[in-house]
Symmetry: C3
Subunit: 493 residues, 3 copies
């Protein structure tokens, strides 16, 4: 009878052949029983969320009477032994140091899935992980590592966008799958991290401190130091050594303000350089089906961070520049110049070329900053999630190149004809803007070359899955199964 | 029998004692079988997400041995025929050009649901859509279009806020419903796009490039060109023609900087004008149960974009203004003025009125910009999602009108008494600020009129569902079923 | 047998008449029947979302023929009586004023779950709530309050991040649980609000207007008024009274600009003061297992808002400062100074100390602003959701203290040696910066004290669950079940 009413949905597999209820109903039927060992903040929040998601929860405590008031009314707080015996799936929410105190429950937990939610106290690089030690203690149970990246707070308030991912790993596929389903029902997104040997990585996740920012920030730091010293030698040390002129007051603002745009422009070119390099590599190899070298892969993945570092420098440069005229030093200089002009009897000191140069480079600078602002806003998770792939590409690539072009123009206009004047080569060092322009000009020329019709066409074909080599004849169909290559092939450039 | 097949999961409780499978379970029962034809990036990511959501997946490949290593361990990679035969629901993830190669599977796929995930290479305005061509090929299967807006990346990383929507359409309601449920289980939000004839729209979605921004940006552009030319004629051409004075250096910064606030203020009034118009239309018709004319509907929907365009102009205006004193031209002018004052022997050039005028209009400008910043921040998806309706209305309407008022005040104070001076009418053109003020003053007066008690009360009644016409007697209850009109009626103003 | 255990949920339709699988599968089985009474915007959007989530929907209308075209094709629009009779769970989506018109359905709705989605017209502080009045009318049904915080718009577009929470309360646990599951299936996050007596709170939620901002904004306002008056007396009134000098032009910009940084710095210290106080309280009590006094709890919860208020003031201060040199008043003063210098024959007015002071304090100010910007960006929901706990702590605590230090330094450098000059004590009032520095210096010293190894160690132990009192011997294990205390204990500091 029950066979009639619920046909076996899965055929040709070793299915049990009976009804498959993915999610049952409003009434009468009881939800499955989830056990939680432990009574701390995390255990309490977990219990609340599980009850809210329709599960029955039993909590195992060493002191059930004292703790039961801390838990939601719907949960049953009982002894650890009883909880372990009745539950189908057990969350282990006690300190890892006290895992051994659970050994008495070994029998009761045999054959069941244990979810280890523990975190270490600090980054653990040597192992073994808490989860693998737990698995060694309870060889007859299936240990799944996970949920450690969630905070009690997140569990209590319900999942939110960025923190919805739950990383799971286990040696037992079935156990992992059932925890994945539990996750999903609680509103989280399970992410498979593979075998239990990855548990160490999962346990170290909460100790990560902006790993994707390390290299870009380090790059920012070294570029800043280099350009600061270079500008210091040219602008402060040179007048002091050659003319005995004391302009050390320039250190806190003026020198910083000529250094920041250098760093910003170099970092902005570093955002677009790897894309050009990747295109050249693909053209050279004649296929997109071979992995880029790891350094290029890493570089491509860090473009957002590089871009935001560049934007930070550009924004600071803008504020520093705008604050220039309000400083006492600027004021004194202005008044002294006025005094000198009066003494010299010069009625009009207007220099048309100087005026035009400054109007133009300030103008280009403001436009570059405006474009960078748009790029930065589009990098906010909530904005970038709301645009489709074409829009994202348009902003990050087309507007991005416009910003790079404007920033380069800003620097060129700032430089004007000073590259050709001998007295700008203090200590034989070329003006800073010349050093800075090398990279962005390379990137712009490289990009323009790739836009030449003959090259662009070939690149497009490669990105749709075409290959130069011979075996393409036999495999094209299989390869082109990547039916969306037309759009997505662009994604790694 | 039923007791055997579904063991009581909850024991030791006063449960009804029969099976409750919240989500099938921890054990024994098998999830349904989803087939995927194709082995590209998308197919692989899809397989991973399906497995992670608790589904069994079988992949059909032309070369199963070669491809099986690319897929998650839990998926079975087999021949296309076998996959098509066993699966209950089949994702077609091969290039649309190769759909015809699947004709051999026609028999095996008869009666089943086929999900077409393909994208075109470019916007397709003429049709037919890939999905409808697929439906023609396999008339005995039910074709559902969808998932094409997701990227392999989104599938791999799990759904995120903005990109969680999956647009589905099909001629077969049941097939669509089952794919909707699948969607939901994967963590996405299904959006019903109707019949398969809408498949072309769905396929064109990834090619959209900020469709809601087209009109506002175009408006921005034309307003900018108009006001730039107007200011150019008054501020640059007029002195050149009448006095031969060369002030073309003003083009890159000064003229842009007087143009930007004009555009910003006009666009800001365009944000609030449609609300006033809509209220007048409702008052005139005496009911809220008739659709606004399409142009008004569109305008109301574009207010956010208009507001952000206005903010962009205002922010650029601020940066341009702040950069004025650091320019060489300002410096030369200042020194020349100092020179002149010394020559003329004027000890104190202080003009109290000029000072007050500038202190006041700069002050009003900064406050207007600050309010616009708050509005812009509240427009970020993650912020606007976190506030309730009343808070959103407060910010966007109350603070918004404050910003409009402040910006208008800024312009009025800037104008001061210059509207009444004959020499400000160069070439008989009125000063720019007079043109600009027309619209915001209209909006502010209109809004104040609507706040008059007699009018406000009537409007409130209309928005709660009240109607002037006669038939209201018979239908009021039904109409007022809109039990939340009190709050939401405001939403379209 | 199976017929007994799973009653046919769908009647009066061509249902198969056997057990109900909510998500069972792709075919054959029918979803449960949800009734909606009411045909307004909300009812329509709700019907759409329910159908999209796989439910069968029947709508009860007083005028079925007229309304059926407004609903999705999959819903059945029928009379209210028929809908109430067939549905298992009924949404009441009519105006609360018309709840009594449903009394005729009393019989049909007996034993069923009624979900009251109604909102009031204004904040209702006295009660009774709509839901409790509904419960009184239908004592044989189980009333659940909820969904009133969702807008028709949210229902139509699908749930988004911030607005995904649905607050539910009911006196019937089972009814609440089933609505919770329904919620979850629709993609929302159910939040349990307890018994039906909380319905008033739930009904008032849509009328909240930034409740967490009230105190911080009020604080901002009073601090601003206090410092504005203080600065007015010292900077404007004093010169007028003692020397008859009219500097009232300073009111709109100069006085505001010296007031804003005062408010900003005081509010920034108020962000970090409660953390220091909380640590002292924990040290004093020797345990973390006792609740903080309510005022401290509230204060700790308002740190984000205080910080953003501080940032707002700091940003406005920056804009005001940058606008100083472009004002006419600054220009007149500059030219008059130049005139005076020429008359006095002073060739060089350069004052090295003044120059250094200003370069340094402007520099420190810009860095403080930059750090505050980073903090503000990290406060955006979409950004703060994307970082882990350690990263959040690093930004908000480490970078935050850097910002506080920089802002304090900015103020100290601004003050320079003026605290020691008698003529700065106008009307015997100390310079403003001295008043302002009290709080930040206290916080910085307090924080440094807490970092002393002996104190820091003890605090760390307390936060891991250690207690000074005797009974720790017996209970340590249970208490330390909070296995993640190492990381999360920091969360309330």
């Amino acid at each position: 009878m029950s066979d009639d009413m619920s046909r076996p949905l899965v055929r040709g597999r070793g299915g049990v052949g009976d009804s498959w209820h993915l999610e049952a109903p409003m009434s009468e039927l009881q939800p499955p029983l989830i056990g939680i060992l432990g009574t701390g903040d995390f255990a309490r929040s977990l219990a609340g969320r599980l009850v809210g998601s329709g599960y029955q929860v039993v909590v195992g405590s060493r002191n059930p009477k004292r703790c039961s008031s801390l838990f939601p009314e719907e949960t049953e707080v009982t002894s650890q032994m009883e909880a372990a015996t009745h539950a189908d799936l057990i969350f282990i929410a006690v300190f890892p140091e006290h895992h051994s105190s659970l050994l008495q429950l070994k029998q009761a937990m045999a054959g069941k899935t244990l979810v280890d939610v523990s975190n270490g106290l600090r980054m653990n690089c040597d192992g073994p992980s808490n989860a693998s030690r737990l698995a060694d203690m309870f060889p007859e149970s299936s240990v799944v590592k996970g949920f450690n990246t969630l905070s009690a707070w997140t569990l209590q308030m319900g999942p939110r966008d960025g923190s919805r991912q739950v990383f799971l790993c286990s040696d037992d596929h079935r156990a992992k799958l059932s925890v994945m389903q539990l996750c999903q029902r609680m509103g989280f997104i399970p992410v498979d991290y593979g075998l239990l040997s990855s548990a160490l990585d999962v346990e170290n996740l909460p100790f990560h401190l902006f790993p994707s920012w390390h290299v870009p920030v380090l790059g920012l730091f070294f570029l800043f130091v280099f350009f600061y010293l270079y500008n210091f030698i040219r602008d402060v040390l040179h007048p002091y050594v050659t003319k005995g002129k004391n302009v050390f007051y320039k250190l806190p603002i003026d020198t910083v303000n000529v250094t920041l745009p250098c760093v910003a422009l170099v970092m902005l070119s570093l955002v677009y350089l790897p894309g050009v390099v990747a295109s050249i590599v693909q053209l050279w190899r004649g296929t997109k089906y071979r992995r880029f070298p790891p350094w290029l892969d890493q570089w491509l993945l860090r473009r957002k961070q590089l871009g935001l570092c560049s934007f930070l420098c550009a924004a600071l440069h803008a504020i520093y520049s705008l604050s220039l005229p309000m400083r006492k030093s600027a004021r004194y200089k202005l008044i002294n110049t006025a005094y000198k002009q009066v003494k010299d009897g010069v009625e009009d000191s207007w220099q048309e070329e100087e005026v035009w140069r400054m109007e133009l480079y300030v103008s280009a600078g403001i436009l570059a900053l405006g474009l960078l602002c748009l790029l930065a806003v589009t990098s906010l998770p909530s904005v970038s999630n709301a645009v489709n792939w074409r829009e994202f590409t348009f902003v990050q690539s087309s507007l991005g190149y416009c910003a790079l072009f404007m920033a380069t123009l800003h620097t060129l206009l700032f430089g004007w004809d000073r590259a050709f004047k001998a007295d700008e080569y203090q200590f034989l060092l070329p003006p800073t803007f010349m050093l800075v322009l090398l990279l962005p000009l390379t990137v712009l020329v490289g990009r323009l070359t790739l836009l030449l019709p003959c090259i662009a066409l070939r690149l497009k074909k490669i990105r749709r899955g075409w290959e130069t080599s011979q075996h393409v004849r036999f495999m094209s169909l299989e390869e082109e199964d990547d039916c969306r290559g037309g759009l997505e092939g662009v994604s790694n450039v």
